[in-house]
Symmetry: C2
Subunit: 223 residues, 2 copies
């Protein structure tokens, strides 16, 4: 795919949704640049000209002229456009809809709840009731996925798809960037879930995206 122009991912090393897209970009072997947007200026121009919602990420694809925000449709766009062989998707019925179902669970049921925990724990650590609520929600998501994954390697159709991969970024954020939550230890209580997660992060493209993310963080910390 060397004839492709470089895709521009507007994101930030410290927030998981751009990393969710990076994992797909790496899996699909696409040329891309991760532009670090100043997180304190994300709700101001010029960024809001790209994304009036003032959130990260936004993808610009010069190959098609598309500007798209919200990580879930970006993932779908990348797979529709650049995974013609269907390596990371299932185009059969009903599997294609079950993939969308799990992507929706991730983007409306995992991301927002994990995000609320991080918000309260980091900025309002005195809000014990809210923090406990979101911890319960995280463990509930783990428990649901643990049951779904019983006897299975992947969520749908026996192969790794974009739906599985979409869960990695927030999970990594919670386990690695917030070691004080002790989630790495708790994970062994959810063996199917944890084995699946280890299987996903062992993939070379996922490992590479996570490594790049660590390097971006280290570079920012050294400034």
């Amino acid at each position: 795919m060397s004839e492709l122009e470089t895709l521009i991912l507007h994101g930030h090393y410290g927030t998981p949704n751009p990393l969710k897209v990076m994992i797909l970009l790496e899996e699909l072997g696409l040329p891309y640049k991760h532009v670090q947007v100043d997180i304190t200026k994300v709700k101001e121009e010029p960024y809001t000209q790209l994304n009036p919602n003032g959130r990260l990420p936004t993808l610009e694809d010069p190959n098609t002229g598309l500007v798209l925000w919200e990580s879930a449709p970006i993932v779908e766009y990348l797979v529709d456009t650049y995974d013609k062989a269907g390596r990371l998707t299932l185009r059969s019925f009903p599997e294609s809809y079950h993939l969308k179902q799990f992507l929706a669970l991730q983007s409306s049921g995992q991301g927002p709840y994990y995000g609320q925990w991080v918000f309260f724990a980091r900025y309002l650590p005195g809000e014990a009731v809210a923090i406990a609520r979101y911890k319960d929600q995280l463990l509930r998501v783990w428990s649901v996925l643990d049951k779904i994954l019983e006897g299975k390697e992947y969520l749908v159709g026996g192969k790794c798809t974009y739906a599985d991969l979409s869960f990695v970024a927030w999970e990594d954020g919670m386990r690695v960037k917030f070691p004080e939550f002790g989630l790495e230890k708790r994970a062994s209580e959810y063996p199917n879930y944890n084995a699946w997660y280890q299987r996903l992060i062992a993939r070379p493209a996922v490992a590479k995206a996570l490594r790049i993310n660590r390097e971006e963080m280290a570079k920012a910390a050294a400034k």
Copy 2:
């Protein structure tokens, strides 16, 4: 479409995501039944056999054999399958992805935040910090949509689509079911947003879905 078998929507009158699907079912003129699931047993069998995530809604379509949960992919499935004429969608590029973008904003940015407000306001009214946070988030979503809708009747492509319609159910929930929040009055501060919302609820199919929802509520209250 009288040859179609009745679709089964597993939901509950008191929560907005099933209503989001009902609005699409009404718009598409599909035969359906809204089965009221006992909300206190949603995380138990037999419902979790249908939806292991224990949330509402789940759609069963006997015409295709599909069982699908998460309201956003259900909306996409209904449009893909039963809106062949493209009355409520745009299948051109890049509009088709912009519709997905707004559906994602609704399902990951509107629904979860409105839902957190309702949760704290109803069950933990002493949690003032959390309640203020989610009120700010709601007004932020209004302000973003108000700007996007400046000079426009609808979000994408100058016509009403599933993306516009997906916002109605939560908005109705907040304005009508929680009059104590005073949102009906505040809405006039966001004129483009409010005009768009009034345009949507004036549609006969939307009005019908909202009326059925009120009847379901009244019937449950009379028990």
